[in-house]
């Protein structure tokens, strides 16, 4: 009876430990990747997003030439990959400043000095060649075109759709929840350690059994994480992402696949750790049985 009760208690503690391990892993991923701007900057570099944005914007302004009469060469300097990087950086920085509670909104004001200078130069040259007065109407037309171009560039550089997330209220929710996430790792870590300690106290005289239960918990939690992450990767499920704008698609799916890959790696390491713990349990168990056998023989 006592053994049965002990076994049931161990099963319950193991189940709690399984979910505690999963919660701890999710907390580490949330703080280390989802809420860490460095992870997003890495995606921008790995996916060559600024190159994609540059090509897309160049095509856009080339097509617009028929409507606006402004040749794409006017925008050439501003659309270079290295000049788009600061715009992408500032939208990311503003996103996290808002979520961290540092900034009141997600509005960005990138530096478009080069673009405005090139547009002004073209307009003034055009006006001089065609005898057009540089009056209020001229300045108004110039300003309108600057604003339209800046808005287009900023929108295309907003690879994680900050604007849409803000409109949907999701960024507001993230901003509210963020202060609580600071406690995630300490709380889940402490809970995990508590469960390990309780299990240890139950099996302090038979440490091999403690290793066994911990190994089983680690194994099951790893399998529970591995199955969905492996399935998502194998089926390329994130390719179903509805936004087909190349750089946004690459940014979002790149981030999600990266996250999934990390979960898969953690799970595989967890399985390896479980195997090691089983081996240790086996060794400790063998040593304990031999000691018991020797003690019994003496008596």
């Amino acid at each position: 009876m006592k053994r049965t009760i002990k076994y049931l208690a161990s099963v319950i503690l193991s189940l709690l430990l399984i979910f505690s391990f999963i919660a701890l892993t999710c907390s580490v991923l949330l703080r280390g990747r989802a809420l860490n701007p460095a992870a997003y900057h890495r995606i921008v570099a790995e996916q060559h997003l600024t190159d994609k944005i540059s090509v897309r914007l160049t095509n856009y302004f080339t097509q617009q030439e028929n409507t606006t009469g402004i040749p794409v060469s006017v925008y050439a300097e501003s659309l270079k990959s290295e000049n788009l990087e600061p715009v992408v950086d500032i939208t990311l920085r503003k996103l996290f400043d808002y979520v961290y509670g540092v900034a009141p909104d997600t509005e960005t004001k990138p530096d478009f000095t080069v673009l405005e200078g090139d547009l002004r130069k073209f307009f003034e040259q055009y006006a001089e060649e065609n005898g057009i007065a540089r009056d209020a109407a001229f300045e108004d037309a110039l300003r309108k075109n600057m604003d339209a171009a800046e808005k287009k560039i900023t929108t295309e550089c907003d690879v994680f759709k900050t604007g849409s997330l803000a409109e949907a209220g999701l960024l507001g929710k993230a901003r509210k929840i963020y202060p609580l996430t600071v406690w995630l790792i300490p709380v889940t870590g402490a809970f995990t350690l508590l469960l390990l300690l309780i299990l240890f106290l139950m099996y302090r005289r038979t440490v091999d059994r403690w290793f066994y239960w911990v190994a089983s918990s680690v194994l099951v939690s790893s399998i529970l994480m591995l199955v969905p992450s492996a399935w998502l990767s194998a089926t390329n499920w994130f390719d179903r992402f509805a936004v087909k704008s190349e750089q946004i698609f690459a940014a979002v799916t790149g981030f999600l696949y990266g996250l999934t890959h990390t979960v898969t790696v953690y799970a595989v390491c967890g399985i390896a750790a479980a195997v090691l713990l089983y081996v240790i349990a086996g060794i400790c168990g063998t040593v304990r049985h031999r000691k018991e056998a020797v003690r019994n023989a003496k008596h």
Binding site: V11, Q63, T68, G69, A127, N145, S216, V220, R240
Partner: protein
């Protein structure tokens, strides 16, 4: 004996326990997901990841079909024409008509559907407007810097002719029009009335315009090459 039986059941428990834990934990996860209020999350996930074209072998894409359309007049060719006839409905991206206006020397292909790629190739008819030969408002636009640069030079009474593979449709300019880009007045359906609306951006100093200019034409004649059966 009892000790051996206990040892055997202990070993069995050691082997079965991880599977038992996996079953219990997996079951609890599935139960928790089904009971939890995840409707909003599922809704967002379905919207965000709705494109299942990637899981199919074929994907949709724009097919641009340019072709030669005969613009010889029926009188010149001796071809018999009919006031009512068969219509070959076009698909998006297909060049299905040739637009001519002798008063301004206009002769441009008309594509069914409108996007930046098609506007680079010719004039475009919006898919919501009436197909040539049916009753309603046929709406065609093009870039002011290219094909419709002289559109506003059309005067009331000028002839505009559209040729297709299934017939010829003649209109006369009834009025010059000007409207804001958000105004749908000239671009909407005209119940029971046959019109042709041609428009383009109002030329600005440089850059995009918020004003659209063009002409509204009335139908003069429909000449189908094949009768209705």
């Amino acid at each position: 004996m009892a000790e051996q039986s206990q040892k055997r059941s202990s070993k069995a428990a050691l082997i079965i326990t991880p599977f038992l834990l996996l079953l219990l934990a997996g079951g609890m996860t599935v139960l928790g997901w089904s009971l939890a209020p995840t409707h909003t999350l599922e809704k967002y996930l379905n919207i965000a990841f709705m494109d299942n074209l990637k899981t199919q072998t074929e994907t949709a894409g724009l097919q641009i079909l340019q072709k030669e359309i005969d613009t010889a007049d029926a009188e010149d060719t001796g071809k018999k024409t009919y006031p009512e006839g068969k219509i070959t409905y076009p698909v998006f991206g297909e060049q299905y008509a040739q637009l001519t206006a002798d008063a301004i020397g206009l002769n441009v292909g008309v594509f069914f559907g409108s996007n930046s790629e098609l506007l680079a190739l010719g004039a475009c008819q919006t898919t919501q407007s009436a197909v040539l030969g049916t009753v309603g408002n046929v709406v065609i636009d093009a870039h002011v810097n290219t094909y419709f640069s002289d559109l506003t030079k059309l005067s009331v009474g000028d002839k505009v002719v559209l040729y297709t593979d299934y017939g010829r449709f003649t209109y006369r300019v009834a009025e010059s029009i000007s409207f804001d880009k958000t105004d749908r007045k000239y671009l909407g359906v005209t119940e029971g009335e046959d019109h042709l609306t041609l428009y383009t951006c109002k030329p600005e100093l440089l850059g995009n315009s918020d004003v659209r200019v063009g002409v509204r034409c009335d139908l003069v004649a429909k000449e189908f090459y094949e009768p209705l059966q």
